[in-house]
């Protein structure tokens, strides 16, 4: 086996930073391997990727120590163009990476820059589009295709150059569960059929392990902690302590008191011999009792047969559901299914074309957008799209000032809100120094200041690693539990729905196809298929052991709740 990537005592420091981001990296990757680079945010895994594809030092200036050799090129001396003949990169932000005005044009981008004549270009675009299954969409424009299709386009755009190494930077970050699965599948197929060396940078371990991976490199704080097989990694206890979420089936088995050895085939639930643990699973399953279900409070919002159209296109068709005070509820479904239209409808930015919405029994048409803002708050996905002021306190004050509250009330409410959000000690800090999770907290607080009864959160944890994810979600749950604020999550993250919500509403093509407890939704194959969700590994365990999947998911949720309650 020949090495295609070789790091020797490699360290890197960004010019704008004082500390080194990568420390003493020694790593060899051989031709044809499929390697997962695993680590939480800020672990240096993306920086490692940038060292391989030449962005370091081409785009990011800094200090390099040691050597990084890619396909015989010493990266600090080679040009990015030379390196990109060997390494193809699919970036995390597939939307930003899509620079063409059509799929075909975007695939052709590197060929255009290579000055390939058009007839040859057409042929090569066609053939690489066929590999990823985009050949029928060559004329589609970027606004009409899904995130998954954008990613396939990006992949096709590097395949025609016959590169040796394919580097995927967080390929799952912006995909819904079903799309994520097919992306992992596609990467696997290209690895097998085209004999490429594959590097996947990710923190979503379970999703990547959906297909075989040769090796996992666990990184944290700029160092390589572990360089091993997936089986050994899973039997170690290094995941949780490094901010990586264990696969659900591993957590479920651990809950049941199962202990693993290095020989267990843990990487894939299909290969894992569940039968061996059957007794333990069943025993534990029967000991856990259902916690008291929250009794339903009064109805806060009633949506009755609501319709909405964009021009003539129906975006919401005959939607009816109730929202109870103090509930935590997930709105799930693929992109364009009507989730964000529903959120806009509840905020009163758009109003139903037909049907009715009642708030505490009163028709909501009588409220203006501004008045509704004091009942239903909306937190956007990207905190940077909401933050306007420089100082935390001013940001929280803003909505109160805009709504014309007196100085006295404003001051009092700001202080209350700051304390609720745990931001009081930081109230005079500039927004610019905050981490993503803290910024998120500030945006939630800026909405809280208006004391709404319901808060709608759009993908609150998108792109966050397990640590930040937990931090954000715990904060939201605290608001829900301590202050009885009703929370509505718009999300395609099923982990979130399982762990943190009581109920899920499922959308497909503007229709509501499910409104039920999360464990029922997740064991309904029909809904899973239509809403582009993913069968969880818990269902697989339940089926293998012979428990009703619905009850097993329910049991798992109870276990997790207990564990969280115990800290």
């Amino acid at each position: 086996m020949s090495a295609v990537i070789e790091f020797k005592d490699f360290s890197f420091r960004y010019k704008t930073q004082n500390e080194f981001t990568l420390h003493d990296i020694n790593l060899t990757i051989n031709k044809g391997e499929k390697v997962l680079i695993l680590g939480p945010s800020g672990s240096g895994k993306t920086t490692l990727g940038s060292c391989i594809n030449g962005l370091i030092p081409f785009s990011f200036d800094g200090e390099i120590k040691g050597s990084c050799n890619v396909c015989g090129l010493e990266t600090k001396d080679a040009s990015i163009f030379k390196i990109s003949e060997h390494v193809g990169t699919v970036q995390q932000d597939t939307d930003a990476q899509f620079v063409g005005l059509s799929v075909g044009e975007d695939i052709a981008f590197s060929l255009e820059n290579d000055m390939v004549p058009r007839p040859e270009m057409l042929e090569r675009v066609e053939s690489s589009a066929t590999i990823v299954g985009m050949e029928k969409f060559l004329k589609s424009v970027p606004y009409n295709i899904s995130g998954g299709q954008k990613q396939k386009t990006a992949l096709a755009g590097i395949l025609h150059n016959d590169v040796e190494i394919l580097l995927f930077d967080e390929p799952l970050a912006s995909l819904d569960p079903a799309m994520g699965m097919s992306a992992v599948d596609l990467i696997d197929r290209i690895h097998r059929d085209h004999h490429k060396t594959i590097l996947i940078i990710e923190h979503r371990l379970e999703d990547v392990l959906y297909r075989h991976v040769d090796r996992v490199i666990l990184m944290n704080e700029g160092k390589i902690l572990l360089d091993t097989t997936p089986d050994l990694l899973l039997s170690s206890n290094m995941l949780k302590e490094n901010g990586i979420r264990e696969p659900l089936y591993i957590s479920a088995l651990k809950n049941a008191g199962v202990e693993f050895t290095a020989e267990d085939k843990l990487a894939s639930i299909e290969d894992l011999d569940i039968d061996r643990y059957k007794d333990k699973i069943l025993e534990h399953f029967h000991t856990v009792k259902e916690s008291e279900t929250k009794q339903k409070n009064k109805k806060l919002i009633e949506v009755r047969n609501a319709f909405f159209y964009y021009d003539d296109y129906p975006a919401l068709k005959d939607i009816s559901f109730d929202l109870y005070e103090g509930e935590r509820i997930a709105v799930v479904g693929k992109n364009g299914a009507g989730k964000s239209t529903l959120a806009k409808l509840l905020c009163g930015i758009i109003r139903p074309a037909k049907g009715q919405i009642l708030i505490e029994g009163e028709d909501y048409l009588k409220y203006s957008i501004k008045e509704l803002g004091e009942i239903v708050g909306h937190v956007m996905q990207n905190p940077n799209q909401m933050l306007v002021k420089d100082i935390i306190r001013e940001e929280i004050e803003l909505a109160l000032k805009l709504n014309g509250f007196s100085q006295e009330v404003t001051n009092q409410r700001v202080e209350e809100t700051l304390r609720m959000a745990g931001l009081y000690p930081m109230r005079n800090w500039p927004v610019s120094v905050l981490s993503y999770g803290q910024k998120k907290r500030v945006t939630i607080a800026s909405i809280l200041a208006l004391q709404p009864k319901v808060i709608i959160l759009d993908e609150p944890t998108a792109g966050q690693d397990y640590f930040h994810y937990t931090e954000i979600m715990n904060f939201i749950c605290e608001l829900n539990e301590k202050h009885n604020i009703t929370i509505l999550f718009v999300t395609h993250d099923m982990h979130l729905a399982i762990e943190y919500t009581d109920r899920a509403i499922v959308f497909t093509d503007g229709e509501m196809i499910g409104d039920d407890k999360v464990y029922r939704i997740l064991s309904d194959d029909d809904i899973i298929g239509r809403a582009s969700l993913k069968k969880t590994s818990l269902v697989t365990i339940a089926e293998k052991v012979g428990i009703d999947p619905e009850e097993y998911i329910h049991y798992f949720i109870e276990c997790e709740k207990k564990e969280r309650a115990n800290g």
Partner: protein, 283 residues
Amino acid sequence: MDNKLFITLTPGNTFIDRLTGKTKVRIFFLLIFILTFTWDIRIMLPILILSIVSLLSIKPDKKKNVAIIIFVLLMNLFNLFLTWVIKPNYGLEMVGGSTVLFRFTDFFIVTAETLWYFLVRLTKFMASFLLSLAFIQSITPSELAAGLHSVKIPYKICTIVSLAFRYIPDITRDFNNIRISMQTRGLELDSRKSSLFTRLKQYILILVPLIITSFDRVGNIANGMDLRGFGKNRDKTYYCEHEDTQGDKVLAPVVLLLCGILLTLIVLKILYKPLYEVWCPWI
């Protein structure tokens, strides 16, 4: 999303749509320059007719087009009226005659020459406006970039044009989302409820996050382009610039002819300075 925009991303299928970006850009710019250099209605009228025919031939969205045409026409008529108010006898300067048709006062007169000048000027404006309107609706941004590149504009500038169009829908969406989010937090954009200065200041609340998030993506986009070899060579080829169609071949001599006309006009303008700029049949 892009139904509000006049420029479309997906090419249509009429004769003009099917031409290459090269032909579209060349003919458009030649005609615009000819319109700029001449005041002779004998040259402008055919171009006006050609623009109308082209516009009709690409079967554009009726409602959108009629609305903007009426708007521009009214604006031009209003401008002409203003000109008349300031200089009722403008025809004497431009055309060289003063045949009074009607007299309000000694100053406010209506002359045949002024009316003729107004007619010529309206033809000039409407011809270039309708020509632009037809051009905009028959070219995709990529074809525009390729077409500009074919007239020797550096490809990096062409890339700016096509990239700008690539991100306009994204930015429009962000703009709307940020505006909506601020409105739910209590921002009042209704002109009846707040003063001009307040509204101007409130726009800052939308602009700050919009600008920050828009420029946030610059790094990612630039990296994606660098990784795929942007700027590797001194030139690039264009995927969207297809081979000449029958139409392009037919129009190739027309492009030459237009070049000839333009050159003649310029040479004439330099060598032969007419007393009055505007040709008039009775003078």
